[in-house]
């Protein structure tokens, strides 16, 4: 069912008698596979308000991210959290929507410095599992009026409600971008160098380890970027051969391009210094990369049994603290294992009680996040 408006979403959800698969652009085939009627909100689309002077944009949930980014670019602004596009990794077609971005808290390399999608979400409107239209937050940058359901909806993968509209804080675009690259680094060496850089005053806006190279990004006014890149280059003396690049393609990092084509892919969030331990503990043949200074590990299976790797990754992460999500895998694997990191009992109890309140009939993407 393609719905056209928030009122349509509410009516459809209220009248639903079984499971609904909530879909925006259809680019995120993540989670436990669900049998259900598709609720397609991609036609609930359009930018409702954009105030560059207030750094605010409000858009209906089905609005393509590309449309928002193009609109912002005309005013020399951007989405600071750098949402990734999963079509290449997952082999999906379609257009990533802003509702999908927020529902999955999709954030890219700049997350380490600037924050996640949830940190830029100012307000939401959504339809809960009973068909009620709910709003929370608003369109102003500071708002502590009542409980923060904006955060709760961010990263809830459509299991608590169907987003109909989101408002976001945006930031100015930058004049210049440079990347300091150090080739031939092990994961441990990479995290050491990245931690030094991120712990400096030089405002590193991306710190990744990709194809064995460390990438450190600097953004801002041209003279400032040059100054900070040089300062970090000097700071990292003794950490390998450092070269400055003006054309490093951060989409490679954002969208995990080196892992495209793999059958099974995990996205792991841990304390940055634990990144190398996650990689070292992998049982099968894998390709890996790190973002967020080591705090985000991308793993792609290149040989061996994905189910064994899955268990190994999630149990390793359980001991380290953090979470591992199977972002891509055969449907039978996703149906058999906890795709999202199992939570400790106390947290799991709160989570399931919240689900029961927001979706009492259990019809919104039921089981998608089941752990």
């Amino acid at each position: 069912m393609v719905v056209k408006s928030e009122a349509d979403i509410a009516a459809y959800v209220a009248a639903a008698t079984g499971a609904l698969v909530v879909r925006g652009g259809g680019t995120r085939s993540v989670g436990r596979p669900i049998d259900g009627a598709v609720l397609d909100v991609s036609a609930v689309s359009g930018i409702s308000l954009y105030e560059p002077g207030a750094l605010t944009v409000v858009a209906k949930a089905g609005t393509p991210v590309a449309e928002i980014e193009a609109t912002l670019a005309r005013e020399n602004q951007r989405l600071a959290f750098e949402p990734y596009d999963l079509t290449g990794l997952l082999g999906t077609s379609g257009t990533s929507t802003i509702g999908g971005v927020l529902a999955t808290n999709a954030s890219g390399p700049r997350r380490i410095q600037a924050g996640a999608a949830r940190d830029y979400a100012l307000g939401v409107r959504f339809v809960d599992g009973a068909g009620n239209i709910v709003k929370n937050g608003g369109r102003v940058m500071k708002n502590v009026t009542g409980y923060d359901l904006v955060k709760l909806m961010s990263g809830s993968w459509g299991t608590l409600g169907v987003l109909s509209e989101v408002s976001l804080k945006v930031l100015p675009a930058v004049e210049d971008v440079r990347t300091l690259i150090i080739d031939g680094m092990t994961a441990e060496q990479a995290v050491g160098a990245m931690s030094l850089a991120l712990g400096s005053p030089y405002e590193v806006s991306g710190a990744a380890w990709i194809d064995g190279a460390v990438w450190l990004r600097f953004e801002g006014f041209e003279s400032s970027v040059a100054y900070r890149a040089k300062a970090v280059r000097d700071l990292l003396v003794g950490h390998g051969e450092r070269r400055l690049s003006g054309d490093a393609d951060w989409v490679q990092v954002r969208d995990a391009v080196p892992l495209h084509g793999a059958e099974a892919v995990w996205r792991v969030s841990v304390k940055p210094s634990d990144g190398p331990a996650v990689i070292a503990g992998l049982p099968g043949a894998c390709t890996t990369m790190m973002d967020w200074g080591g705090g985000l590990v991308w793993i792609a299976q290149t040989g061996g049994d994905a189910a064994i790797t899955h268990r190994a990754v999630q149990s390793k992460v359980a001991t380290l603290g953090g979470h591992a999500t199977l972002m891509k895998g055969p449907a039978d694997l996703r149906a058999a294992v906890p795709v999202f990191q199992p939570e400790p009992p106390g947290v799991a109890a709160l989570t399931s009680a919240l689900r029961a309140r927001f979706d009492p009939r259990g019809i919104l993407n039921p089981g998608l996040m089941a752990a």
Binding site: V174, S269, A371
Partner: protein, 482 residues
């Protein structure tokens, strides 16, 4: 202010409750003498006072768990308290409550520069978190004006902001994990030293829940390396409209200062008298601060002052030294106490879209005439978080009521123009009854559903956030006017 009738069955069990609490806590951690419980009768919203039945001062998460378990079993309401600096009455006791004050829990538990976080007990003050790491060059970014006194516990409860959140965000953007004790004593760990949640973002809901979902005893906080330097520039204008237009142009130009603060003439005068920062006396003053190396600061300020000059400033002065910068900020951060020296006042905290600043300031001026009470304005101009300070005379009968009515009208205006009731102070009891102006019944129902999940008996921080009539059936208690 309407408050629930104290539960007489709870009051009747005071001796038993105190005995049980003394069974799990040292003698001096349980305060039941009415002379001493009066110390907890209010927070920084001093217009409302009510001594609690008992106050407790736990030293550990285990203590907090034991206190909450006892109160849960006894059906006793609990009011969590950090340092008691809430401007919204967020820690106002009820007569039948147990105060749970975390002031004794102020240790730094873990410092990790490689991973850029600290883990602290939440009774620790905001400024002393920075104090623990600044000798190594690091700081904790959220900086509410009360940062010398306010506790991390209260910062988390209210999702506190500060002058520098334009760049660094508010508490929720700098909070990575918490140890939460639920009302029944259950301890859960949420988040940690890693980023983002693998499941539902419970951390995001707990932050800003005004102590109504659980008691946060430990927190993992993001720390950052201090910038190489920072420098504010003062800009004076002939009107708030011109200052507002200048702010818009600065933001649109792509330069993002760490802070853009606004003061009107009344506040300039009282803050100058207090801090001797040599503020230019004018209708509207902006303090704009940028950070970076010396050269970066010069570049950014050159751009900013060029923009300012297009708006015909009556004053334009960069800070010439670290001492001068400190005085400039001391004046701004002391704004509330400075005005408190000359008048009783009520501090509002609504946020509006920045484009509405001139209109809202004009309307506030008109209302000031209409209600016959002077208003000073000081606020975070970059993000539209206003702080109108309405002056009144607490000794003049009826003045507080007029002031409250005036304040309510201002906050309704904030909502009307697309803003909200509170940007960083929280709802507390102060804005509780205005919640229906911002939220429809279904919106409040969704928020209360969360409270139901975390605190089914509705015992934690009673009578805050939700209008009593809206929450009545959940609390199962009768209403009474005070």
């Amino acid at each position: 202010m309407e408050m629930p009738i104290p539960d007489s069955t709870v009051l009747a069990r005071k001796i038993r409750v105190v005995e049980r609490l003394r069974g799990v806590l040292p003698y001096d951690a349980v305060i039941d003498d009415p002379m001493e419980t009066r110390a907890y009768e209010c927070d920084a919203l001093t217009a409302y006072r009510c001594p609690p039945m008992v106050a407790t001062l736990p030293s550990s998460t285990a203590d907090v768990s034991a206190i909450l378990r006892i109160c849960y079993e006894e059906g006793v309401p609990v009011v969590p308290r950090g340092s008691g600096t809430s401007l919204a009455g967020g820690a106002l006791p009820t007569a039948d409550c147990v105060i749970l004050g975390v002031a004794r829990m102020n240790e730094v538990l873990e410092t990790d520069y490689d991973n850029r976080f600290v883990r602290v007990q939440t009774g620790r003050t905001n400024l002393s978190v920075t104090g623990a790491v600044e000798s190594d060059g690091f700081f904790y970014a959220p900086d509410p004006s009360s940062q010398l006194a306010c506790a991390i516990a209260g910062n988390i409860a209210m999702n506190s902001g500060g002058a520098h959140c334009l760049k660094y965000g508010v508490t929720t953007n700098n909070l990575m994990g918490v140890t939460l004790v639920q009302m029944d004593g259950t301890v859960v760990e949420i988040g940690g030293a890693h980023l983002d949640s693998g499941g539902l973002d419970l951390l995001g809901v707990i932050c800003g829940s005004e102590g109504q979902l659980g008691v946060v005893t430990e927190a993992t906080l993001r720390i950052l390396h201090k910038p190489e330097g920072a420098r504010p520039v003062l800009m004076g204008f002939d009107s708030a409209e011109i200052a507002g237009a200048c702010v818009g142009d600065i933001i649109k130009a792509g330069v993002l200062p760490v802070a853009i603060e606004f003061m009107d003439k009344m506040l300039i005068e009282v803050c100058e008298d207090f801090a001797k920062a040599d503020y230019p006396l004018c209708e509207a003053l902006l303090i704009v601060e940028v950070e970076g190396s010396e050269a970066e600061i010069n570049d950014q300020l050159a751009l900013i002052t060029e923009i300012a000059k297009r708006h015909n400033p009556v004053a334009l002065r960069e800070s010439a030294s670290a001492e001068e910068s400190a005085r400039i900020w001391a004046g701004r951060k002391a704004a509330f106490s400075a005005i408190g020296r000359v008048s009783d006042y009520m501090c509002l905290d609504g946020t509006i879209p920045v484009s509405e600043l001139p209109y809202v300031l004009r309307r506030i001026g008109e209302m000031s005439e209409q209600y016959g009470l002077p208003v000073g304005n000081v606020f975070h101009a970059g993000d539209g978080n206003m702080h109108p300070l309405i002056c009144y005379d607490a000794n003049k009968p009826g003045d507080l009521e007029i002031c409250e009515e005036f304040g309510a009208e201002v906050l309704k205006l904030c909502v009307e123009v697309g803003g909200c009731l509170t940007g960083e102070h929280g709802v507390g009891i102060e804005k509780r009854d205005l919640m229906t102006h911002q939220y429809a019944p279904a919106d409040l129902e969704a928020q209360m559903a969360i409270k139901d999940v975390f605190d089914a008996k509705w015992l934690l921080n009673p009578a805050k956030v939700f209008p009593l009539a809206v929450s009545q059936s959940r609390r199962g208690m009768p209403l009474a006017a005070e």
